[in-house]
Amino acid sequence: MSRFVDIHTRVLVQGLGKVGQFHSDRAIAYGTNMVGAVHPGRGGSHHRFEGESDASGVPGRPARYAVDLPVYDTVREAVAATGANASVIYVPPAGAADAIMEAAEAGIPLIVCITEGIPVQDMVRAKRYLQGKATRLIGPNCPGVITPQQCKIGIMPGYIHRPGRVGVVSRSGTLTYEAVKQLSDVGLGQTTAVGIGGDPVNGTNFVDVLAEFQADPETEAVILIGEIGGSAEEDAAAWIEKHMTKPVAGFIAGTTAPPGKRMGHAGAIISGGQGTAAEKIAALEAAGVVVAPTPTDMAAAVQQAMRQAGIL
């Protein structure tokens, strides 16, 4: 049983443009239970997805799939008609924060926002809107969340994942894929991989995901992948020291990043001397996290942490 998504998760997609169509197709091919789409103005229609099933996805499915996904004008209608309990957002930046609020208002418990480039103040308002609602937002500007062979929500390549023992949480998409592939290659696999996104204002942070992994009986170890900017890694280190009994490995990107420059991600910036990789690595190591010296060593760091804990 996974903490975020599993075989029973009923997924809605918001934004059925080119990107939303492509990744919905990949998700259906993987076996994700996609139940509907929201695209204002296209309500009442159906969108057909068909092709060859992704062999790395949910087992026991036919070799081909053909789905006529019902499209709705509003999230509220879609939820009423489908019973969706998760939504993935591919709406372009100008409307993405609104899409998050619409999903929250409709009572969706899990919202995964993939969109990159949302104005910060839009996210400030959306985050305020989510306060007091029983909705978890993952992202924005993230690859999504996957529980291997059960449910893939987002843009990650499914085939690198294997069901297994390690929880993955990361601010970076491609570094998540690096970690996931290494964990699959060494036979450890993943329970769930969560991308929390590279934006300065996001819904779910390291601490939230660590708490879920700590509570999940199937997750035996965790790898946390951070980067320069903000203090989410330091907060995570403090939480790990206090509450985490499972072994944790880590990696921090941006040791060589110059101060004052945004390194691709809106949130990856050292400002006023704060948010450096060195500070984050020191905080994590002080909390007992095995920090990988390079991304190539991420699975090795997990193995080392698990050995130290006597579970490998």
């Binding site: 989410a232 420059k261 691709g264 001397g273």
Partner: protein
């Protein structure tokens, strides 16, 4: 996006924030011509000539060409009523400042070329304070920060006397509440007329920051004049890149001459590029992977020449453009292409690299590491192209070691 002080002040003034009067000049003649109307309009015989560059510390900065000259100069010659003397002095200053290179603590040793001046009315400063509106990432909200220690870098105040910084967190549904603005104004020690003006200033400043989608609005110093006015003597505003689509007026303020030409060109292709000082060019997909590619190059003894994220939706054309931007840098002694294909397919990257090499030629060693979606296809394309000097790598560390060895 960064803008100049004079532009920031115009944006703020349009939103009800008190700023001194001034005129921008791009030539000595324009600077001279600004003096008389300014003195007549304000009744203040003193003017200040301020260098406009995208960096702070201008007052204490010095020109490379004129080591005796600072970046901000007060002209007192008009005090005896002699406007012509003030004009002559401004002309002489502008002739030396414009076209010269100003080095400040924020420009780095190479400095920045001054191409614009701001001629501003002199202010009778009684107190120098500090106020800013910035995002507090830990709570996902703006905070208004204020301090009585104006004129000093806020980082220095935070390090030396953190108790002198007061903060109010802004609820986006409400804005800066009246009681919060009053608390800040009390903390700043404002009294009488200045108190009411300070409250109005702070309220308008927070609203402007939110309306403008500002990453940061910093007023340092915020001054109280002898007459009890509250004015933004300096203003630093930077606007959220992601929100520019709804601020056409701000986009028009962009000064491309303040930006690195290669970074500008890269952004036109949707590439995220930052120039660095090292010798190994990097072409990577994903911000985290691009950062850690730089790190791993340094880890194995090399130095990265750039950060370059081609993003998730790059085409062969984008990759070709990226390759050209990297190879144009004369410091680049080798290139490391490091791709983990997720959405970005390895064959797209491979086609881009091959097209670019055929187009611009390859004068330096090239190491390519491909992994992820369509990796076999990508490797076939790369190997089938028969590019001399191209080396494949099995993983990131292997690739970093190879390119560092090849460029030694």
């Amino acid at each position: 996006m960064k803008i100049h002080e004079y532009q920031a002040k115009a944006l703020l003034a349009a939103r009800g924030i008190a700023v001194p009067q001034g005129r921008m000049a791009t030539s000595p003649a324009e600077a001279e011509a600004a003096v008389r109307p300014l003195i007549e309009a304000t009744g203040v015989p003193v003017v200040v000539v301020k260098s406009q560059i995208h960096a702070g510390g201008r007052g204490k900065g010095r020109f490379v060409e004129h080591p005796d000259l600072g970046g901000v100069n007060v002209v007192l010659e008009g005090r005896a009523g002699d406007v012509a003397a003030a004009e002559a002095r401004v002309l002489a200053l502008a002739e030396r400042m414009l076209g010269s290179t100003l080095v400040t603590v924020q420009t780095g040793p190479e400095g920045k070329l001054v191409q614009r001046l701001y001629v501003e009315q002199g202010i009778d400063i009684e107190r120098e304070l500090y106020v800013s509106v910035v995002l507090d990432r830990s709570v996902g909200r703006n905070v208004v920060m204020a301090s009585t220690e104006g004129g000093t870098e806020i980082e220095e105040v935070a390090a030396a006397t953190p108790e002198k910084i007061v903060r109010e967190e802004v609820d986006p549904a409400v804005g800066l509440a009246g009681f919060q603005a009053r608390r800040l104004a009390f903390a700043l020690g404002l009294q009488g007329e200045a108190f009411a003006r300070g409250v109005a200033f702070l309220t308008a400043l927070e609203r402007a920051a939110s309306d403008l989608d500002a990453d940061m609005v910093e007023i340092n110093p915020l001054v109280v004049t002898g007459a009890g006015e509250v004015l933004a003597l300096d203003a630093k505003v930077s606007i959220d890149q992601n929100a520019l689509f709804r601020h056409a007026d701000v986009v028009a303020l962009r000064d491309l001459s303040e930006e690195d030409p290669a970074e500008v060109e890269a952004s036109n292709y949707g590439l995220s590029f930052i120039k660095l000082e090292g010798s190994i060019g990097c072409l990577v997909n994903g911000a985290g992977l691009a950062m850690s590619t730089m790190d791993i190059i340094q880890h194995v003894g090399g130095s990265p020449a750039n950060f370059l994220d081609v993003g998730g939706g790059a085409t062969t054309e984008n990759v070709t453009a990226a390759f050209k931007i990297i190879t144009r840098d004369p410091n680049v002694k080798g290139i490391f292409v490091n791709i983990f294909g997720g959405i970005m397919r390895c064959d797209t990257i491979a086609n881009g690299v091959v097209a670019a090499v055929r187009d611009v030629g390859l004068g330096v060693p090239l190491v390519v590491r491909l992994e992820g979606t369509n990796v076999e296809l990508g490797r076939e394309i790369i190997e089938g192209a028969g590019i001399p000097g191209l080396v494949s790598a099995s993983d990131m560390k292997d690739g970093a070691r190879k390119i560092v060895e090849l460029t030694r």
